[in-house]
């Protein structure tokens, strides 16, 4: 199964409440995916030229203070550290390849879940309410979020195998379904130099889209590439810095409901996840068609 949710706010007055709106959406869909939960929150709260790096602690009482000092030494420039539950977000103005190399060098046990000027990724094993409480998701502000509740079907239940997969800068993907030809696409991407974190099928789609987008494609082209190249069942929700997009395979057997108001665009596997959103009774609610790309803002 798996549950997916997305919320893109048009009304900036709601931004302080983003986390508070997203947590109930995920909680309701825990029935579709109790194994693990994850969320990508988009918030512009760093200076131009800076980027955020979402890091996952290797153990509960990890020494983040010491880690930040080592990272600063390695980068020879200051970093800001923001603790989130057990995990942390590091803010740095060094170039992303430099920071990612430093993260790998300072402590390879620290997992790196994504980076960008807006994105923060939190994911963990456990049902939605537990994971969201662990990281304080309800108190997070931002202008858009995508999230996932996982019922694992094709790879292990670990933190790394949880969604979202944030393959590129400010790019995140959540997936309901399963790909049948992910191994061959993975081999093609590996031959092109793409590096994977896991053996998860959804990560292949995330890496594929990132590869296409970092080689000249826009999001629409990359998603068309998914429709053309990927076999299997999928409803995909992808977020970039300024938009969210949905695409479903030709069978469209993995559900998706879209609700749009003047204040937001919300998507979820089932309408139950949208029922608590403000003004939902006035929303235009529909199910997206197969093999059509929907992007918001349009």
């Amino acid at each position: 199964m798996c549950g997916i949710v997305g919320l893109h706010l048009k009304n900036s007055g709601l931004e302080a409440r983003l986390g508070e709106l997203v947590v109930p959406m995920l909680d309701v869909l825990a029935s579709r995916g109790p194994d693990s939960t994850g969320v990508a929150i988009y918030c512009h709260d760093v200076s131009p030229g800076e980027a955020k790096y979402s890091l996952c602690a290797p153990e509960d009482d990890y020494n983040w203070g010491g880690y930040a000092v080592q990272l600063e030494e390695e980068l020879a420039s200051p970093v800001a550290l923001r603790r989130r539950g057990r995990d942390a977000v590091v803010v740095s103005h060094a170039t992303p390849p430099l920071v990612m190399a430093a993260i790998q060098k300072v402590d390879p046990r620290v997992r790196f879940f994504g980076h960008g000027s807006a994105i923060e990724v939190y994911k963990d094993v456990g049902p939605a309410i537990e994971v969201c409480t662990r990281y304080g998701v309800a108190s997070m502000a931002g202008y858009q979020a995508i999230g996932h509740t996982r019922m694992a079907t094709e790879s292990a239940v670990t933190i790394e195998h949880s969604h979202p997969f944030a393959a590129g800068s400010d790019l995140a993907l959540v997936h309901n379904g399963s790909f049948s030809n992910h191994a061959s696409i993975r081999r093609d991407l590996v031959d092109l130099g793409v590096v994977f974190d896991t053996d998860n099928d959804s990560e292949v789609a995330a890496r594929f889209i990132d590869y296409q987008m970092s080689h000249g494609s826009d999001l629409a082209d990359a998603m068309q590439g998914v429709l053309k190249g990927f076999d299997g069942f999928f409803t995909l929700l992808v977020a970039t810095e300024d938009s969210i997009a949905v695409v479903r395979d030709s069978f469209a057997c993995k559900p998706m409901v879209v609700a749009e108001t003047d204040d937001y665009v919300a998507v979820a596997s089932e309408y139950v996840a949208l029922a608590d959103l403000p003004g939902i009774e006035k929303a235009d609610v529909f199910e997206p068609m197969p093999e059509e790309l929907y992007t918001w803002p349009a």
């Binding site: 409901v257 089932e270 139950v272 009774e281 068609m289």
Partner: protein, 230 residues
Amino acid sequence: MASLTALELNCSELSVRAVNAAMRELPDGAVVNITEPRGRHNLAVGLSNKLQITIVGNAGYFVGGLCDGPDIVVDGFVGWSVGENLMSGSLRVRGNASECAGASAHGGVVVIEGDASSRAGISLKGGTIAIAGDVGHMSGFMAQAGTLLIGGDAGESLGDSLYEAVIYVGGKIRSLGADARIEELTAEDVERITDLVRLTGFSHVSPEDLRKVASARHLYNFDALKDQKY
């Protein structure tokens, strides 16, 4: 709109099971408002008493499924398989419907005032489904008997492997499925559509301008000599 004299069953206070059990005990003619449906699945399923039910808001999967009597109005959107295996009575959805609207309906009428998604009327077994707007792909797949009226456009593979069910389309058809073909409207077809337009209130549908999709019946019998491959 919800009736003021109706019994109110609020989904924020009651489980779906409690809501359905309460309705099962009501006498014929009772009027029920189901409030705050909040996308719940399986609302008003398996009822055989002649109730007037209004679901005030957006509902989930299988609304009104297996029913044999009630008239149900959903003042909102419905999820997958609204009116699945409907036996008799009616269902009217004021908003859009997700996939498999009216799947396997044996009787009764399912009216969708908005769009329906993929596989509307799949395996229809004698019921009537009328959709004011568009339908998604594989609609009417393997429909055995009954009528599917589509006021708007139809997606790919409309009427694939049809048996005796008939489909009428007001808008564009992206493609026909295997063994489906366009046939001339007969006087009986126009009469049937006229009745349906009156029943549904689909004033945008003009009966003479619809296209009829029915089975070419080439798949009815297995042809052992076809292509000489066997």
